[in-house]
Amino acid sequence: MANGTWRNTRSRGGYQLPLTVLFVLAVAIVLIGKAQSTLFDRARADVTDWMAPGLRIVHRPFDWVSGSWHNVSEGFGVYEENVRLKEENARLRQWQTAAIMLQSQVKRYQSLLHAVPDPSLSSVLAHVIGRAKRPFLETMILDAGKANAVKPGQAVIDARGMIGRIFLAGNHTSWVILLTDLNSRIPVTIEPEHSPALLAGDNQKAPMLETLAQGAKVKPGDQVVSSGDGGILPPGIPIGTVIADGAGYRVALLSDPATSQEVAVVDFKNPVEAPPVPTAKDLPVTAAGLPPAAPPPSAIPAATTAPAPPPPASAAVIPKPVVPAPKKDAGPKPPAASKPAAPDPNAPPGDDPVEDQ
């Protein structure tokens, strides 16, 4: 390729200033993105929405190739897989019977104890129209967005377990951050000890278990489910199984984001309830059986207790002759100027100025 006769005569001095400026600009973008990435998120969501129809078409042959590759690689162990599945099926049937019995038992106990029912879960079925694995990001794009009530933070599950959660929602598409992604952190519970922990992705196939509570007893084979802490993710979504990794632990995920085609976006509604308004019965004095203390003077209506200030002459005469009249008959109404305010039919009796007098 080299040739001595060729000379690069183009000046590069003119690029020095733009290069410096652009370098500073790039650093500024990183810093702004760290502080506030909404602008980029919106741009990404818009671009993905725009590309969604094309992605659906482009994705089909790749899915076919990927699925075929998967089938071919699995085809070599069909016999062993069949034997294993038959054994597993027989074992699961036993567990199914046990589960049905336990479920009815739990329902009976819940009705006896008047237990609070679990919060309602609804879900949106979405198709995977894209998935990408970059050095610093593992993501999946779904064909459901804000128009389908998909919101950032919602859990994404497939038939086997949790895949990740929504981190960006466009109008008709949404991006999923996978549990294996470097930026994924979710609170989990390790069963059966019910130990809290944090599941942290590090771009490996099995994410790490972090921040285990002191004294937590964890062993390989334990089940990991979402804890629901924070009120964003629903509790109890199956995630995976604990496996040992040197001194620490990792989680072998039940779901397989590389092959999932249809997923459910779980809408978890766990509204924060306002505390009940205390009544007079709830006051400590009343609860102790003592008579309630007299309210402070400022809280009592002036008409009942406080000596009325000397009213102006016109105001003092008006109520007495006029107020009873509308109650007894439907005679001609007095002139508006001399009519007092009519008593509110819904008002408590103590508010009626006539009765007070």
Partner: protein, 168 residues
């Protein structure tokens, strides 16, 4: 006139096309094979061959597009592309003098600078060390794919822009 305009915009259009193809959210063989840095290849190629057709602002734009489409933190690849461009620009005579297998080695150096910059920015961004294996995989795939892509870019350059340096 049209051919001149076409020749002027071809490098950046090809770079942006490369970014779009590399970030096409499809899983090749179940995501085992990472996508190469297809956007960096035209930047490197034309920065050496015809730097007037690939000024720094185009390299910046290509990096920005890579950031938007890749879904990662904004500015990471923009900074990586600009840094790589600055190094190539300063050492253009050295890089341009490479031929054959050494030319691939030259691109490997450029891709290493880009990946190392992105890795460093990502480390500072999240304040933890990301795993090295995915970046190494992307670097390896980029170097592997550079040869066929460079042949294609050379062909496009001859047809739309003008003769290559090796044609003199």
């Amino acid at each position: 006139m049209i051919s001149r305009i076409l020749g002027a915009v071809t490098p950046v259009l090809l770079a942006m096309l490369g970014v779009m193809i590399a970030n096409l959210p499809v899983s090749f063989l179940g995501g085992i094979v990472p996508a190469p840095l297809l956007g960096l290849m035209p930047v490197y190629f034309w920065c050496l061959v015809r730097p007037d057709l690939m000024p720094p602002v185009w390299a910046f734009s290509v990096g920005l597009l890579e950031d938007i489409l890749s879904g990662g933190p904004p500015g990471v690849w923009t900074l990586a592309f600009i840094t790589t461009y600055a190094v190539i620009d300063r050492q253009r005579d050295v890089f341009a003098g490479l031929s054959g297998l050494a030319a691939m080695l030259g691109f490997a150096v450029a891709a290493t600078i880009a990946c190392a910059t992105a890795y460093g920015v990502e480390t500072l961004y999240y304040w933890r060390i990301p795993p090295l294996a995915p970046v190494m995989g992307e670097l390896a795939m980029s170097v592997f794919f550079y040869l066929p892509v460079a042949v294609f870019l050379g062909s496009v350059h001859r047809r739309l822009v003008g003769p290559l340096r090796s044609d003199f």
